[in-house]
Every structure is written in C-alpha cells, then in structure tokens.
Symmetry: C2
Amino acid sequence: MPESPSKDSDDGVRPGEITVSLPDRFEAGIYFIGRIRTPWTRREDCPHNARDSDALCSIEVDPRWVAALAGVETCSHLVVLYWMDQSRRDLAVQVPRHYGEGRGTFALRSPARPNPIAMSVVALKEVRGCSLSVTGLDCLDGTALIDIKPYFASVDCVPDAVVGWHRDRK
Amino acid sequence: MPESPSKDSDDGVRPGEITVSLPDRFEAGIYFIGRIRTPWTRREDCPHNARDSDALCSIEVDPRWVAALAGVETCSHLVVLYWMDQSRRDLAVQVPRHYGEGRGTFALRSPARPNPIAMSVVALKEVRGCSLSVTGLDCLDGTALIDIKPYFASVDCVPDAVVGWHRDRK
C-alpha cells in the first residue's frame, strides 16, 4: 500500500480538461485479489468497447481465495471490478480523444477517475481451479483484480437506460 | 487511510463459514468522494433487494468534484460504487441468513468481501448542484461514495443472465 497518494501519471492534460487537487490521504485500502490476463499489452491495442471483441480472457484469482469461488460456476455472467493503476486520478473534466468534447468524469467510463476502478460485465465460459475463462473484457494484460460478483438481471439489467450525451453526439 | 488493514468487525463467523488470512498490506488506496443519504440507519432496516424499494435516496458528491458531474444529468441510470466499511473482509465462504447454505463470497452480493465495494444500478431523478436524487439504493445512511459511472445498456445489460444457484434454490 503506498504510504501516500501516488503522483499523477505522465499523461498530459488536454486543452479543455479540468484537474482538481486530490485529498492528502486515502481513506480505505484495497487488496489485489488476482490478475487479469488479456491479449492486450498496449493501451492502444485494447478494444474500445468490450462487446466489440470476443477474445477469451482469463481471470486468475489468488489461490488464497479459491474457496470464495464456490458457486461462481453456476453464473452465466459476472460483474468484475479491476484497478486501472496507470490512470490519472485528478481529472474532473476530460476530453476523450474519440469524442473531442469535454465531459465530466462521472459521465464517462474513462479509466481516469478519483478511484480508478473499472466495472465490466463478462460472460463466464469455464472455471478451472482459480482460473475463470471469460469474454467481455477490454483491459491490459496483468491488470489487478479487486472483486467478482454474480450478475443478477433482476437488479443489474436496465434495457431502456439512456446516456443522453452519447446518444445525441455528432 | 488506515496504516494497516483494519481489524475484523465484531460480526461472528457462522457454522459452515470459512475465513482466510488477509494479506499484510493494502496495495492501493481509495478516496471517499461523497456520502450517500438513505432512510436506513440500521442494517436490519435496509431493503433486502434495492428494487423492492422506491425510496428516494440522495448522493452527496464532495464539492471538490462538482465539475466531474457535467453530463451526468443526461443519464437515465448510473452505476454507483460505495464502500461497505462495516463488513468483514476475510470471509471466503458465507452462510447468508436468508439462504442458510454456504456459498463462495464471489457467488454472493454480500457486503462481506475482500474489498467491500458494493455496486448498484440506480435510476437518476434529479441533479441539483452536487446532489443527485436517485432510486435503487439499499445501503445505510452515511455510506461512503467511491465512484459514479454512466450505465450503458449496450455493455451493462444482459437480460438473460442466470445465477444458477439462486434460480435453483429451495
């Protein structure tokens, strides 16, 4: 655990982006519970949208937690949380390259956010020991895993949800 | 930020539950970025399923992050991540009271997990300054907020997802 908040990454700030000063200290701590293996080793190779790719990825859970996987094999889909450690944490407004317009961090799925936790819904293909084969990920090889949850359509699925700025973009 | 992992809560371990020894140190740190206000001040009062309740809750974002909300008002639904700080972090197998059978932590949505991050999909009703009115939360009043994301049906919605153990339970 870093003793104090890490320095920002080397990523520059683009025109139109807004940074804020971060708090002096963290208020809670994260354990890494495994690693995600994907075919992508450079950010520019990652699929822009996880559903654009049917690449099989694997989630390697730390053997310490093997007992916590009991029952996971009965799930068709999982919510996976992982830690995007290469991202700036101080951006409040971002200008994503592919949109070219400033948006608030909380209106974006960008990895740059105060707590760089990404959430993906994945389809589970196989469980073998501590290793889960899944599709639906778009992160870099070696990304740190922080949680796995069962996906319940009853609470997690909203077919008619709308992200207005995205629907209306030119 | 605690200097070292916190002690377990006073919650007992039930027969059939399995604990693991936690790592010696955290590997990443979390900023709390706001607080969630709900009508529930005791765990036993929280709705068991967030969709069972249409209670209006509010997400109070730290003013430091107000610029990060730009565009959020165009979203019908949001993914909200929050920190369940009253939960044990060392349970690998749990026996939830309402199921009475042991299940792996990663097959459950229980707040007790190595990283006690809860994920809820909420319906956004109104944004006023740093305050978001939403439905779909089931957490205690005062819970720490750690992230807000736009909900994209294209990647987050899986209508036919199945949690086999839950579907087949007696």
